[in-house]
Symmetry: C2
Subunit: 359 residues, 2 copies
Amino acid sequence: MMDRPPRTRPPATLASLAAELGISRTTVSNAYNRPDQLSPQLRSRVMEAARLMGYPGPDPVARSLRTRKAGAIGLLLTEQVSYAFRDPGAVAFLEGLTLECDLARVGLLLVPARPDSEDVLAVSSAAVDGFVVYSMPDDDPHLAAALARPVPAVICDQPSIPGADLVGIDDAAAIRGVADHLLGLGHRRIGVICMRLGRANLDGPVSIERQNAAHYHVQRNRLMGLREAFTAAGVAWDRVPVVERFEHSVDAGASAAAEVLALDPGITALVATTDVFALGAINELTRRRQRVPEDVSVTGFDGIRPAIDAQLTTVVQPVVEKGRQAGRLLLSPGRRTAGRRVMLETTFLAGKTTAHPKV
Amino acid sequence: MMDRPPRTRPPATLASLAAELGISRTTVSNAYNRPDQLSPQLRSRVMEAARLMGYPGPDPVARSLRTRKAGAIGLLLTEQVSYAFRDPGAVAFLEGLTLECDLARVGLLLVPARPDSEDVLAVSSAAVDGFVVYSMPDDDPHLAAALARPVPAVICDQPSIPGADLVGIDDAAAIRGVADHLLGLGHRRIGVICMRLGRANLDGPVSIERQNAAHYHVQRNRLMGLREAFTAAGVAWDRVPVVERFEHSVDAGASAAAEVLALDPGITALVATTDVFALGAINELTRRRQRVPEDVSVTGFDGIRPAIDAQLTTVVQPVVEKGRQAGRLLLSPGRRTAGRRVMLETTFLAGKTTAHPKV
DNA sequence: TTGTAGGCGTTATCAA
DNA sequence: TTGATAACGCCTACAA
């Protein structure tokens, strides 16, 4: 009794509790994990002693080690975690993903993986039963670290890795719809704004080589889709100004629009590969007293809420559903077969930001 | 060599790798954790063997068990996790919190704690070094489970628990500003919409007793603040219709507004304890062809983006900063002293949804 | 219904 | 620079 002064006493463990009660560890363990394997009175004796000794119940980590289950999945993002909460697309994806986590009663660990850092420790030391990888460049070391772990992985949007499950959309086909819409309206001089194509913080005009070598497949595929549609319509792709921005923000979209207009002041339409950039482009045009769509047409991609509200012409993709599918793929009990692919449908949405070019 | 057919071979471990190489486990461990404690050639021999044997590096859970660090903190929310991503306030809070997590290179585990479930397993078995509790009712078993864990906890908004750190605002004082504003404009018949006051899914008019017994302190304090201001101005609080909604959505706000108007069609102002509800109230009034603020004034609370955009009269609280403070409190290295309190400033924002009552 | 005992995979300590 | 030993706290056959 008095042999352990309450202040200095080491934290109680299942073993110390058992010793105190003069019973076996098994019994204490059962008291927590299999109440039915125990006489009610013994169980309550155990619980009472636990309360007295301040035993907080079985240590989660020790339990995980023993059972080989963490009860959580990890999420890897392109960017710092906090960034995700500023991006409507990422928030919607998270909503879908956590919907499934809630259902499966599994936690979601947001893994701190800064894109600029080569420090992969956070990934290799995350206690998770699987990874969801959201829109990562194919050469990111964090991705490699996740795939090296002996747990399943579901990749969202990109990159496509043999052996890992994939959820995505047909970006090229989807954006061809946009291109055809503009071409159909008569546009021939078109500028393009795209998001980062590699891990380096680069802004500016994009060469064809850089497009081809892009590590962000989504962006590459969207550019490819545009290129195909334009080429098919006789618009020479190498004459189309394409400007890249590393940061995905409305302001970056605005500055990219300014840069495109500097490269070719005569464009009649501006294709942005994301809604966020499209909204920025509209801001910039408005600032210059250019009317949308009378003077310049603008299109986006994604279908985020503010874009819909602004009646942007865009492609709507089911982002929440994407998150759900990723979660389901990772959490489905019978996930024996890796390499599954779920491709989601997209919808072209004609808004009020596109019209015939001025004559 | 041949004693382990590659297909059936059990997963490599640090020990098996050491055995294979004929060196000690310590050395292998050092190869990963303390490269400088090792001759470069031995280290590269280890790494090469690891690659060959498909050893993914030290097991995170075993490491955690040994080092007693999880490298992650847990977040407990009032609601299902997925719900947070539909609530602008929660998203902003998460942004602030993850800002600090990123900085500290610590993961954030979203713990699946359904409010309607008494199943506390997810909380007691979360592998985390601490908890942030966001706006929980004081009688929630998940909260109790978190506090029972031998890790620090920071509570956000509510409830105030002796021994745990707290981040919050002075809700009563803040909403008194709103009340005084309305009273100053001349309003005397005012209705109130508030959020859930307890864990049970209850909608409808709220008795004084229920207000006093509310388990959601934030809501209670806001009601108390109103009561004080109204009473001081000679408006009898027991004549003020107060309607509660469990679900925190724009539509719920609209239906609550309808219910308040049914209780007293003669009100000239509607105070909502959240912006979301206020936006719903405006929707409902508009639907009824009542003008805001000419026919009815409306106020909110929180300062979420859509409310600012709608020029709602409201109280702005620094939600992102709240998340940061919570993270900082939990992650600050020298956190020896529990029971710290950080109270943040709020700002009254006079928008265009309040005016003098009609005469 | 309860107990025995081995091991999950790692790292800290200390010695060589 | 490297190694031996002892935990870390728990679960789970298996046995009684």
